[in-house]
Subunit: 209 residues, 2 copies
């Protein structure tokens, strides 16, 4: 199956600005993108990166400067197609299989992200379209209802964990084993076990060079 | 299988203090506890609440005033035993089955919580003990290694989502369908779709009465 991997190549992961500078965010985002493409491929599918500008990754890359939703929708409507966010740094081949398995019995499989987002989909229904703005998990369920598409929801922590904000980096250090996790460790990030949920700490800015 | 459900009955969910007062936190925590017990039972297992003081729930309740880890460890070491946190307001019978299935091939099954916690376990190894302090997911993997117990990690967003902080309430409104979700709705909480991840809003304090 073709799996679209949309990638904001121009200014990725701006909400990590408090802990990573622009170059670091670009490097980290590309490491996560490569992890996602590897997992998709290891699960037996064909990743196709849809990026806002050219990016070096071992997969087909199509440059599309439009916003996310129209860029994806332009590629839906034909054969069954997957969509997996490029910032799912915890994704594994098993998690991708779990998503695809869920799509066997439904017109649309949705993996919700934390906070009402949609982190991955498999779309088999010809009339289903995406809308990633707002509470997209809820919107995608509504859109499916409107076009008469059945929905399966995938219960996966790995698919639910997109890396948007600094707290998410702790999840990568805890559960990731790909390039993104290695990049973070080599950049000096460590788990910071305070009270309650763990965060990340970074020794000094100089250590990231 | 016996499934322990530890419950802090005395002052539950203090980190929700910014949005819920003490009585509200007690009511919400008890609704989530009942959801957890119902899901465990619907999955064919026997919930046993281990609470710091007596609590009204349709399950066996044992009062144990000790801290969480010794209270649980005192009940491990015999037959295979589950442990499911009382604040997993998204848990479903399917998610409980997923946890128990993972334990079929391993001495210890662990469902990690967001931020390095441990939200659920099934323990079959006689020497494994819990330690919920700190980054317990990492500690439980280490403890398993030390006693020679094999580990399976359960990939479930529903089991990973404990309700600790206000942002977690959005997950309950989005994905919950039990008493805790109903309680939140009736208390006036609504999804608040700003930019990025969704939060919750609450009309006015008076509306919760």
């Amino acid at each position: 199956m073709r799996v679209l991997v949309p990638f904001e190549a121009t200014a990725p992961k701006t909400r990590l600005g408090g802990v990573l500078d622009g170059d670091e965010r670009a490097a980290f985002a590309r490491a996560a993108l490569r992890d996602v493409c590897s997992a998709v491929e290891a699960a037996g599918h064909v990743p196709e990166v849809v990026a806002t500008e050219s990016v070096a990754v071992d997969a087909t890359v199509t440059v599309d400067e439009r916003p996310l939703s129209p860029a994806i929708n332009d590629r839906l409507g034909g054969e069954r197609t997957g969509v997996v966010a490029a910032d799912l740094a915890l994704v594994t081949p098993t998690a991708v299989e779990c998503l695809v398995d869920a799509a066997a019995d439904a017109d649309v499989a949705i993996a919700p992200g934390r906070g009402g987002g949609t982190n991955a989909l498999v779309v088999s229904h010809p009339d289903f379209r995406v809308d990633f703005h707002g509470v997209s998990y809820r919107d995608h369920r509504r859109i499916a209802r409107e076009v008469g598409a059945s929905v399966a929801v995938v219960d996966s922590m790995r698919l639910a964990t997109d890396v948007d904000v600094p707290a998410d980096l702790a999840e990568v250090l805890l559960h990731g084993d790909g390039e993104a996790a290695v990049w973070l460790s080599e950049a000096g990030f460590e788990l910071d076990a305070g009270d309650g949920r763990v965060g990340v700490s970074h020794p000094t800015a100089d250590d990231t060079e």
